[in-house]
């Protein structure tokens, strides 16, 4: 079932939630992001693909300002991203982030990982935060692991906990930075299933991934990047069957042959 068919998400509906306008970013000599224009609407699932080094992870990380930008503006829900301090922390609480390397807090249990944000950032009571955390952990299928430490879990389980940790903040948008790239093949599916589920429930998502299957199944729109620029944007169906640019044809030719 695709996101469109499920009826809970529809491309083109909803007002703009994340807007990147004229974003430029350099790493020394490297022009990492070139004049990026991207609008993500509420409830939309945007998948960003492209060869490694194309700037797709950097793009994802600028949206919650884990990377600063040199020029341009990024707005979330109509508001400019704050520069730093408490306002920036407050913004990040609104943006969920899932990393390639999970980054669960190694010294805290699974349950504590999920409750830390709600308790410390949202000021939620411990009992309430734990109740909610257990619901979320059940939802991603690791409820029975709540008392364990991250290192005791498999990669796929850790990544699902990381998703639950981000969801516990009730974010407006979820960013996924290559969430399955560090996983063994048999664990990729369990993480993607959770993500597809999220997409179907109407979560706004920006997903950097190499999982073309996920892009086809869950994406409303595919953004193809190369050399720091957005080369092509289209629906998954159009993009995968009729890529317009040579770079995209070349890229798809390389990854889809096997």
């Amino acid at each position: 079932m695709t996101a469109q068919e499920s009826g809970t998400v529809s491309a083109g509906r909803g007002e703009p939630l994340v807007v990147l306008d004229g974003v430029q970013k350099h790493f020394g000599q490297l022009h990492a992001l070139k004049d990026i224009e991207l609008t993500v609407k509420r409830g939309e699932v945007v998948v960003v693909i492209g060869p490694s080094g194309s700037g797709k992870s950097t793009l994802c990380r600028t949206i919650n300002r884990l990377e600063t930008i040199d020029e341009g503006t990024i707005t979330l829900d109509g508001k400019d991203l704050p520069q730093e301090g408490k306002a920036l922390a407050a913004l990040r609480a609104e943006v969920g982030m899932v990393f390639q390397s999970f980054n669960l807090f190694a010294h805290k249990t699974i349950l504590e990982n999920v409750t830390l944000g709600p308790i410390k950032v949202r000021g939620m009571g411990k009992a309430e935060a734990e109740k909610k955390a257990r619901e979320l952990l059940d939802r991603v299928g690791v409820g029975h692991q709540a008392e364990k430490y991250p290192a005791q879990l498999s990669g796929g389980q850790q990544q699902r906990v990381a998703i639950a940790r981000a969801l516990a903040m009730e974010p407006k948008v979820m960013l996924f930075d290559e969430p399955t790239s560090a996983l063994d093949p048999e664990m990729i599916k369990e993480v993607l299933d959770v993500m597809v589920d999220l997409a179907q429930q109407g979560m706004t998502m920006v997903v950097v991934t190499h999982e073309m299957g996920f892009a086809r199944t869950a994406a409303d729109r595919v953004v193809f990047m190369a050399d720091g620029a957005i080369i092509e944007e289209n629906t998954p169906e159009e993009f995968f069957t009729h890529p317009r640019s040579d770079r995209a044809k070349d890229f798809l030719g390389k990854i889809l042959k096997h």
Binding site: A90, R92, A93, S101, L116, A151, Q152
Partner: protein
């Protein structure tokens, strides 16, 4: 050895003072050193530089010179710290000598604590800080809730070395009118020149016991807080 055994209460008192100097300046340098380390890795450039300057200044100065400065130069400048003698803790008055010695030891040791702590902070993967920021923790929260608890685990072996050095560095206070272990040993050998070797041994054993207690406790703490990755 007879001199030590017949004056065992003095021997214990001397090591009591050594331990007192160690505990007070140890706690103070752990606190100050940790604050300095946070400033050094923090986002405010001027504070980074101030903390780096502090470390450069106090880590590169011989401890004896810091003692000389605090015991001899500062009273000339009008700071003799006599006011601390009005403070009474559990029936004991804090002597200005004790306070000055702790001040000197703390200023010196906190520079080393800062660097040990910073190595621990650097040992925590960057992703931990990013994950903390990503759920909306402020810098201070991500430091105290995520980074420092993990850094503390990585930092126990080097921090133990710093603390052992501090325990032995308290002997510098012997030259500044504090009857701690080294000063008392000198007094003993002066009065009982025929028993020097025995006295040396007795005091060496005392220091070994103090240091072994420190390293044993650090081993126990390390085992308790080990974290899996």
């Amino acid at each position: 050895m007879d001199a030590v055994i017949s004056n065992f209460d003095e021997y214990l008192k001397a090591f009591g003072l050594t331990i007192g100097l160690f505990v007070v300046s140890g706690i103070a340098s752990l606190v100050l050193g940790t604050i300095l380390a946070v400033l050094r890795v923090g986002p405010v450039s001027i504070l980074n530089k101030a903390a780096a300057l502090y470390v450069t200044l106090f880590r590169n100065t011989p401890l004896l010179m810091i003692f000389v400065f605090i015991f001899i130069a500062m009273p000339v400048l009008g700071y003799n710290f006599k006011v601390v003698e009005n403070i009474e803790i559990a029936g004991y008055n804090v002597s200005a000598f004790f306070f000055r010695a702790c001040l000197a030891l703390t200023l010196y040791t906190s520079a080393f604590v800062c660097e040990a702590m910073r190595s621990g902070v650097n040992a925590v993967p960057l992703g931990q800080a990013e994950a903390g920021r990503a759920i909306g923790l402020t810098f201070a929260q991500s430091m105290t809730l995520v980074i420092l608890p993990q850094a503390a685990r990585a930092v126990i072996p080097p921090m133990t070395s710093v603390m052992i050095a501090l325990a032995k560095n308290t002997s510098v206070a012997a030259a500044f009118g504090l009857a701690e272990a080294t000063a008392t040993m000198r007094a003993f050998t002066n009065n009982n020149a025929d028993q020097r070797i025995g006295i040396f041994l007795a005091f060496a054993i005392g220091y070994i016991i103090v240091v072994e207690v420190i390293s044993l406790s650090s081993y126990l703490v390390e085992r308790k807080v080990r974290v899996a990755r």
